[in-house]
């Protein structure tokens, strides 16, 4: 690999001070460090050796944990397409092909548009390109509807990176989760393209099968509030004739139903959660507390039982919609989450509680987890403030004893 190193060393002077592309040093530098771990050594004072981890490896670990969801997303997008047009016997190669054609362009657009913004800001602000977007760039496609127009993906990504991240100073400084900001932007700017009948890719020239309404488990739940029908019965009844048991509990768990591209499968999220927790890249306290918060709120609502959606068994909340995906990948974003260990519990529980609260009481926004996490992102510093204050108080009390 010496020739590669030599090639990089050859062009390097052009980017250094006085070189003709001096302005673009950080773009060169990003590529150089992507190929080669730098040869920097520790300072003469301070630690003389460093842990083998760096942010690139940490972010890459999170991306690896997302791969099960991405692979499942490709399959499921294809599968839902063929179910919706009434060809459940489609060959697996066709299913994967349709999935690839729908999903990969969204991933590519997300990365290209986001990284472009990152490179521009690194060049203007004269700093290294941070790795944070590598994860956001993968999360954004996975929370989009499969049929989202590509220009909207690009617009949402650019908006999120600039407004939610760079405006605050870049990776590590942001208050809101970048990927969720992108989704929330689309949700409020183009509600027609990210709600209603968008969760299965039909494709032009195809007719949806009879009985297909474009419903999701959450929209069925929201409807039940007005109709008063038993939600579980409605879920089980949906899809009969063209996709039996589409919204059965086990199918919701495995994830073979329409929804955000990569957020439907609780099972894949569990695999991701295990990877995150074992590698120390995601916080188990947050994941567990979101689940507990949602489940406990579900149980509480069962006890009250004022409307049909409240009566849904609490464990259904854990498999419907994006709760699992949000808990595992979004809530655990260390930058926008609470940073104290006690704070993480409070933060997670409140996300779970709010998610179910929004689902059940605010049918205008059937998916509660997105807003719940963004809301708690804003409150995370406040939670930390009180936890830090408690530490300060302990220290003061000790002094007077």
């Amino acid at each position: 690999m010496k020739f590669l190193r030599d090639a990089l060393d050859n062009v390097k002077p052009n980017f250094e001070k006085g070189g003709k592309w001096e302005k673009f040093y950080y773009i060169y530098e990003a590529h150089d460090t992507l190929l080669f771990a730098p040869k920097d050594t520790t300072k003469s004072k301070g630690v003389q050796i460093r842990d083998a981890i760096d942010t690139k490896r940490l972010m890459m670990t999170v991306i690896i944990s997302l791969l099960p969801c991405l692979l499942f997303a490709i399959y499921n997008t294809g599968l839902q397409h063929f179910l919706a047009i009434g060809q459940p016997e489609a060959a697996i190669s066709d299913i994967i092909w349709v999935g690839l054609i729908q999903v990969i362009p969204i991933v590519v657009v997300s990365y290209v548009s986001g990284l472009t913004v990152e490179f521009i800001f690194a060049t203007i602000r004269r700093h290294e390109v941070a790795e944070g977007f590598l994860v956001s760039g993968m999360l954004i496609p996975l929370v989009m509807p499969p049929d989202i127009p590509l220009w909207q993906v690009a617009l949402a990504t650019v908006f999120a990176v600039i407004i939610a991240k760079e405006a605050f100073g870049g990776t590590g400084m942001n208050i809101l989760n970048v990927a969720l900001t992108a989704r929330a932007f689309l949700y409020f700017a183009y509600p027609g393209d990210i709600s209603g009948d968008v969760w299965s890719y039909i494709g032009s020239g195809n007719e949806a099968v009879a009985g297909f309404t474009g419903a999701t488990p959450l929209s069925i739940g929201a409807e039940a509030i007005t109709t008063g029908e038993n939600v579980v019965a409605s879920l089980n009844a949906y899809g009969s004739g063209w996709a039996d048991g589409l919204f059965s509990f086990s199918n919701l768990f495995w994830g073979f139903y329409p929804g955000s591209i990569g957020a439907t499968s609780v099972f894949m999220c569990l695999i991701g959660a295990i990877i995150l927790i074992l590698t120390g890249s995601g916080n188990w306290k947050i994941i567990l507390s979101v689940v507990l918060g949602a489940w406990a709120t579900g149980l509480l609502f069962n006890a009250i039982g004022a409307n049909a959606f409240m009566e849904i068994p609490a464990h259904y909340h854990l498999v419907m919609g994006g709760l699992a995906f949000g808990a595992v990948y979004m809530a655990t974003d260390p930058v926008s989450a609470a940073q104290t260990e006690t704070g993480k519990w409070i933060y997670g529980i409140l996300i779970g509680v709010l998610t179910v609260l929004i689902r059940v009481f605010n049918p205008a926004y059937p998916e509660g987890i997105m807003l719940a996490i963004l809301f708690m992102n804003v409150f995370a510093p406040l939670i930390d403030y009180y936890v830090v204050n408690a530490n300060k108080k302990r220290r003061l009390q000790r002094a007077t004893v």
Binding site: M1, L4, R5, L34, L35, F36, A37, P38, K39, D40, T41, T42, K43, S44, K45, G46, V47, Q48, I49, R50, D51, A52, I53, D54, T55, K56, R57, L58, M60, I64, E128, A130, E131, G132, G169, G170, T171, G172, M173, L278, T279, G280, S281, N283, P334, V335, A337, Q339, T340, E341, K344, D384, V388, N391, K392, R394, R395, L396, R398, A399
Partner: protein, 454 residues
């Protein structure tokens, strides 16, 4: 009340190059040096000798104009051959070419039974004159102890848990008498207790086990359990307005020798350690020794870094540099100035890591001795990861928030978050594990300087 305390947080960095138990009395190094940078709180150093002067072991060579009662003395007798200065004429080193047989300044001698009758003033006076005082480190701030202060307690850590740390049982073998005398002297300096903190996980050296007039505490757990700051936090934490002193066993023994024998004796044993040393072992020498003779013909490679102290808190020196005042150890590890293709993602079992992100497999092999080089393994970034510093700092201190308070120069927050309880070394592991590669120890010192001087 003696306490037994068990700590869970921390991390032992298991490196190759542990010293064998042999102690070598080789040719003594030619030069010895005194480095003001080994101390915090020397503001206006004034040198009292010139190049060409002859000094005895214990002759004052330097004092601080802002703190002129504390004398810094020559560790050995000989001729002053160099006074090295850096930028803005900052004093770096006073180098002494040692005599073949050492001559000592003589100070008052006392018998063991006399020690009890000494007054605090007499003790302080002799410690200052004999040049032993700078062994006393004052917290908050980790500075040379204030002559006019009375500490609420004095703490001695009787073991070192740093990577490749020397075994105190070897360093201080046979010094029982002096050690006990030193403890008796410490007892004069404080109305409170003298705490001697031993390692519950290893055999306690008899020199510590039979110490009298002290609170004998036991600590167990991973590094930084041996850090005296961590021990203080669990025994008698430092609150605002408190002053405590710390001293290492070498200093205690030097105190004892100063009073019992009336001389400034800086003879000590140091450990030469590290993966690049052919035979890592112990050497008998004096404080401030040049490492030149120890490392000559004793290295595996030539592209190495010499460190006085350990790999976490030490300082880089060159091949004929001198060992620091507080260091019992020299570490030699490979330099890491190389590029590595896809080094940021390649799975590795050979690089040590506290973390377990993708491809970091060192945790599978906890008993392996790792060879670590000086490569930073990545570049500095904004703080991203949370919750990891907390796992290696066994104190009720919020490390990230304290560091951020220092960066923001928020004095109230620094104080409230416990800056008085810490010095750099307590945060060394945080710096090691930091995924964002910040210079945490440097930041902590900045914070201490801010609190102290502004």
């Amino acid at each position: 009340m003696s306490k037994s305390i068990r700590l869970k947080k921390g991390f032992n960095i298991n490196l190759a190059g542990k010293p064998q138990t042999s102690v070598i009395e080789a040719d003594q190094p030619e030069t010895f040096a005194f480095k003001p940078s080994n101390f915090h709180g020397i503001l206006r150093p004034k040198i009292t000798v010139a190049v060409g002067d002859n000094v005895k072991a214990g002759t004052t060579i330097l004092f601080d104009k802002k703190n002129d009662r504390v004398k810094h003395v020559a560790p050995v007798s000989g001729e002053i051959v160099d006074i090295k200065r850096g930028e803005k004429r900052k004093l770096l080193e006073v180098v002494i070419l040692a005599d073949k047989t050492l001559e000592y300044e003589s100070f008052k001698t006392h018998s063991v039974s006399d020690l009890v009758n000494l007054t605090r003033e007499e003790v302080v006076e002799q410690l200052l004159e004999g040049g032993a005082w700078p062994n006393l480190v004052q917290r908050p701030y980790g500075i040379i102890a204030d002559v006019d202060a009375t500490p609420k307690a004095i703490f001695v850590s009787a073991f070192d848990s740093h990577p490749l740390a020397p075994d105190y049982q070897i360093l201080f073998k046979g010094q029982e008498q002096y050690f006990q005398a030193g403890l008796d002297i410490l007892k004069k300096l404080t109305p409170g207790s003298v705490h001697l903190n031993t390692n519950a996980d290893a055999e306690v050296s008899s020199i510590f086990e039979h110490a009298k007039n002290v609170e004998l505490n036991k600590f167990s757990g991973p590094h930084p359990v041996g850090n005296v700051g961590v021990q203080i936090h669990h025994l008698d934490p430092i609150n605002k307005g408190d002053i405590v002193w710390t001293i290492n066993p070498f200093g205690v023994i030097q105190f004892g020798k100063l009073f019992l024998e009336g001389k400034h004796d800086s003879s000590r044993i140091i450990a030469l350690t590290g993966s690049e040393v052919k035979t890592p072992q112990y050497y008998k020498t004096y404080t401030g020794a040049s490492i030149k003779k120890f490392v000559a013909d004793n290295l595996k490679g030539d592209h190495v870094r010499y460190i006085t102290g350990n790999v976490l808190t030490g300082e880089k020196i060159n091949a004929n540099g001198h060992i620091g005042f507080f260091d019992n150890q020299v570490t030699v590890i490979p330099e890491g100035d190389y590029y590595e293709l896809f080094g940021w993602i390649k799975p590795t079992t050979s690089k040590i890591s506290f973390q377990r992100a993708f491809g970091l497999l060192s945790f599978l092999n906890p008993n392996k001795e790792f060879v670590a080089d000086t490569n930073t393994r990545g570049q500095e970034r904004a703080f991203v990861q949370t919750g990891v510093f907390e796992k290696v700092l066994p104190m009720d201190v919020l490390p990230t928030h304290l560091v951020k308070a220092i960066l923001a120069q928020d004095f109230d927050d620094m104080e409230a978050l416990g800056i008085y309880e810490v010095i750099e070394e307590d945060f060394a592991l945080c710096e090691f594990v930091d995924v964002s590669k910040h210079d945490i120890q440097e930041i902590i010192r900045e914070g201490l300087d801010l609190m102290q001087y502004s």
